[in-house]
């Protein structure tokens, strides 16, 4: 029996522990926001956070998840949309939208590491978008950085 949390909720799994987290989420947890794109950690459509860091769930067997905290796109907004989600909407980023959950999870991770990312730091993102939304992703990440900054300034002012 493997126990971990997904978006704050306790999960336990006693099925095939070689199953990648992606398929657990999609087929067993009913969380289909995390997408299957390649199965070999190349495209990033399946990006989730494991203990707060971006991970490609298509190659992450459930066996290694004991005690881990998983966050998926469905659990990213806490009460209200995350700054990255807000920025994505402001910039009208998605086209088909299929890769965007993974793009957003990767961008949140990038902004944790680099709250004010340079173009070079944004260039380290390797998530694929077949529709070619990269230019709008780039502007949305910069916008999210600004939003996050003003939110935290707001919080400090409140305190």
């Amino acid at each position: 029996m493997i126990k971990f949390t997904v978006n704050g909720a306790e999960h336990q799994f006693d099925g095939d522990s070689t199953m990648p987290l992606l398929w657990y989420l999609r087929d067993h947890a009913g969380l289909t926001g995390t997408k299957f794109g390649c199965g070999i950690a190349q495209c990033g459509a399946c990006t989730v956070h494991v203990d707060g860091e971006a991970a490609r769930s298509c190659t992450l067997p459930v066996a290694g998840l004991e005690g881990k905290k998983i966050t998926t796109i469905e659990g990213l907004a806490e009460g209200r949309l995350h700054a990255v989600q807000q920025a994505w909407m402001e910039q009208d980023v998605p086209q088909c939208g299929y890769c965007q959950a993974g793009q957003i999870m990767a961008a949140v991770d990038l902004l944790k590491r680099h709250p004010d990312p340079s173009d070079e730091q944004i260039n380290t993102l390797t998530n694929l978008c077949r529709c070619g939304t990269y230019p709008r992703i780039r502007s949305a990440i910069k916008r999210a950085a600004a939003l996050a900054k003003s939110e935290s300034a707001g919080r400090e002012a409140d305190a």
Binding site: D27, L31, G39, M89, G97, I104
Partner: protein, 771 residues
């Protein structure tokens, strides 16, 4: 569920509240078992039927369904306006742009509009073939959704407005001529106001106007021509948008298929005993496929299917299959053998697709002749969402929920494979994770239909990335031989485009051999009618690869060849590449264009985008050492686009796009944000494909299987795209395909300008060969 999905509910019946609720349901996800979405089995039956056909019934239906105004619009008493989106949303933005057209003409308050994907619906008609679209065309291909909508959905919106005006007129007992509308409100000349919310119930009891009603003057547009974010944004960024792969049917088994990797190969033998030992694997079935030479009208290849309780068990089960494949007649085919075949073919004579004037004599008499051969490889569509489908074949009905570009094709193939009446085949479009032409084919739907029929169970078919990349309808491979001559004055006096290609019509049912060239070379394309001695010639390449429509089909190959060659011609004759193009286009005028996107090709509009792109990039300036400017312009399916790029080439041959301009004229813009997105996306697609992408063949099999070898462009190499929209008042064309064809030649022309190296074979690769 409506709280979770405020804007779009793809699997939900568009008119669900109006229908018989006793019909079976389709669920969205396992998590949502309690909120199974009600979805009616067939769109025929208890639906509203146009008043002209069944006036009494229509009234009766509407009275029990308040606020429903025709097929597309329902207005709730709180003012929420639901508008149906009939075409599949593949990322091209039609779930936003098409409802914008209806909302404009009905004068809706766009802020109160919620959009829903409509199911596919057919109606019986007396004339052959006895069946027709009920809501108008519902495919996504050829950049046709917007032009179609412009011709019929404006009327839909205007008729809704008419019904609301009549309802207000009868309530106030005043003539309609005293009334006008603003966003969601009818206003009397004396200032009285009635909201659409208050009028909808009574308006819904009136008969749907049969005759056309007056349309708005475009100068009064408030919605069309603005920039609107796409309607499904919130669902997408929260992970709640429902794609085909997210659809679920209760009791469905997941099917993963091992398909024969050899072109036209067969199963020699297989052993499924190990696969059946995998926990969760329920069944292993042979999936029959088409034989060598047969038309492909259903699935693509023979295979062995593993049916399991979940995706992982099915994937593991497939891995455990022991299969011996028998290679087919193309076992010797390779990318190199196709190159040799093309070179050999081009030595001979092909089919004359167009012959104007006397090409041979003009060439003979010319002051100067230039020629070059360009190579365009096979490429894969690889939409981010791999193929999938949920299908349940029952004794007398079929349910299909899938990401499709051609839902009517899905209905046809299900009918072909089951014999079940098409009105008992329920086809629902989900949001689609990319189309690019791949999902115009319904081979994956056919597989799911066959497997459901064989197993008797609902099937959730899942393709892996390798399945998708190795079993595609690839963009055709070809060699383009171009020849042009100039006279003493420097004018282009003759032009030939000799193309050896693997026709996209390969194995398409009902295509005559003499028509195989039709999708490869479009006879009215530039520079036809602009050069008096012109020859278009085609040679059939024999290849076992299945081919099909890849975003902007032959335009991507032909514009690369033609727009590269113009550049070569300009260099050879010491002309400016922009000036040469403008000289060839001549005075602005309309030329006949018989192909898709016609009936006219306007030389002035093509010159317009060319000039705009040139101005924006600063054409004519010296960009400095190691840098160059490149340009290209092309007419695609009714739209005009040009790219201008500034490229820096380093000493090691690596290159970088420093600036990228895309100028576009697709007539009146509907949604500026969506149009800009399509141009950005088309441009990036064009650059990505030109830079890195080729599907190689070895021993009659596809080599690449996943994104590790098939290197789509990533963020680090994606330039910003400066989109310049021409403010045209012409009727709108689509926008899904125009952004691609000129990206590759603008890039290679800029590489030449920067380095002196002419790239004639795609893909370019991450570095150019030393010049």
């Amino acid at each position: 569920m409506s709280k979770q999905s405020p804007n779009v509910s793809p699997l939900r019946d568009w008119q669900q509240d109006l229908h018989d609720r006793s019909v079976p349901t389709v669920s969205t996800t396992h998590a949502d078992r309690r909120s199974f979405l009600k979805a009616s089995l067939t769109a025929a039956g208890a639906l509203l039927i146009t008043a002209s056909l069944h006036p009494r019934r229509a009234r009766a239906e509407s009275s029990s369904s308040p606020g429903m105004l025709g097929f597309f619009v329902r207005i709730d008493t709180d003012g929420t306006t639901h508008i149906g989106a009939r075409s599949p949303e593949i990322g091209q933005g039609v779930n936003t742009s098409l409802p914008m057209i209806i909302a404009e003409e009905m004068d809706a308050d766009w802020a109160r509009v919620k959009v829903k994907q409509m199911p596919m619906a057919l109606k019986k008609i007396d004339e052959a073939p006895g069946i027709a679209w009920k809501y108008g065309p519902q495919g996504a291909g050829g950049s046709t959704s917007i032009p179609s909508a412009w011709s019929d959905l404006r009327q839909v919106g205007a008729k809704v407005r008419q019904l609301l005006l009549q309802a207000a007129a009868s309530q106030w007992e005043v003539p309609v001529s005293d009334l006008r509308t603003e966003a969601g409100v009818v206003i009397h000349a004396d200032g009285r106001r009635l909201s659409y919310a208050n009028l909808a119930a009574s308006a819904a009891t009136s008969a749907w106007p049969e005759a056309d009603v007056p349309l708005k003057d475009p100068k009064d547009f408030r919605i069309v021509g603005t920039a609107q974010p796409q309607v499904a944004l919130r669902e997408i960024v929260t992970g709640r948008a429902e794609f085909g792969i997210d659809a679920r049917m209760p009791g469905a088994l997941v099917a993963v298929v091992a398909r024969c990797p050899h072109f036209d190969g067969e199963i020699e033998s297989f052993d499924a005993s190990a696969a059946k030992q995998i926990p969760g694997v329920r069944e292993v079935l042979v999936l029959p496929g088409p034989k060598h030479g047969e038309p492909i009208s259903a699935n693509l290849a023979t295979g062995v299917a593993v049916l399991a309780d979940d995706s992982w068990a099915a994937i593991k089960g497939r891995r455990a299959l022991q299969i011996r494949w028998k290679p087919g007649p193309y076992a010797q085919e390779s990318s190199a053998s196709l190159d040799r075949q093309c070179a050999e073919l081009l030595k001979g004579e092909g089919i004359r697709c167009r012959e104007d004037g006397d090409f041979d004599a003009a060439r003979e008499a010319a002051a100067r002749t230039v020629e070059a051969v360009y190579r365009v490889p096979y490429v894969s569509h690889c939409p981010m969402e791999p193929q999938n489908a949920c299908v349940h074949v029952e004794a007398d009905r079929v349910r299909i929920v899938a990401p499709m570009q051609s839902p009517s094709g899905a209905s046809r193939v299900a009918h072909q494979l089951t014999g079940i009446d098409r009105f008992k085949i329920d086809v629902r479009m989900t949001r689609v994770g990319g189309g690019f032409g791949r999902r115009l084919s319904n081979d994956f739907v056919a597989e799911a239909v066959l497997l459901s029929k064989l197993s008797g169970k609902p099937i959730r078919l899942l393709w892996t990335r390798e399945d998708d990349m190795r079993h595609d309808f690839y963009r055709p491979f070809g060699h383009h031989h171009l020849i042009a001559s100039v006279d003493e004055q420097g004018a282009v006096s003759s032009w030939a485009h000799r193309l050896a290609s693997a026709s996209k019509y390969y194995r398409r049912p009902n295509v005559k051999p003499e028509d195989m060239w039709n999708p490869e070379i479009y006879p009215d394309d530039f520079p036809a009618q602009l050069v008096s001695n012109l020859r278009l010639e085609w040679f059939a390449v024999d290849s076992g690869m299945t081919r099909g429509s890849w975003r902007a089909p032959a335009h991507t190959a032909n514009a690369f060849a033609v727009q590269s060659f113009i550049d070569e011609l300009a260099v050879a004759t010491k002309r400016d590449p922009v000036a040469l193009r403008l000289a060839m286009l001549g005075e602005p005028r309309e030329l006949e264009y018989g192909g898709h996107g016609g009936p006219v090709f306007d030389t002035g509009r093509l010159a317009g985008v060319l000039r705009r792109a040139a101005d924006k990039i600063g054409w004519g300036r010296d960009p400095g050492k190691g840098r160059g400017l490149g340009i290209a312009a092309h007419f695609t399916f009714g739209g005009y686009a040009a790219h201008a790029m500034e490229v820096a080439v380093a000493d090691d041959g690596s290159y970088r796009i420093e600036r990228c301009v895309c100028a576009v004229d697709v007539g009146r813009p509907i949604n500026r944000s969506g149009l800009e997105a399509q141009m950005i996306g088309g441009t990036i697609d064009g650059i990505s494909t030109a830079r890195n992408l080729e599907i190689h063949i070895r021993d009659g099999q596809v080599v690449e299987g996943n994104f590790d070898r098939y290197r789509l462009l990533r963020m680090a190499d994606a330039p910003d795209v400066e989109v310049e929209i021409i403010d045209s008042e012409a009727d709108p064309a689509g926008a899904g395909e125009m952004g691609i064809p000129t990206a590759a030649p603008a890039l290679t022309n800029a590489i030449f300008a920067a380095s002196g190296v002419r790239v004639r074979s795609l893909p370019i690769g991450p570095k150019i060969a030393a010049g």
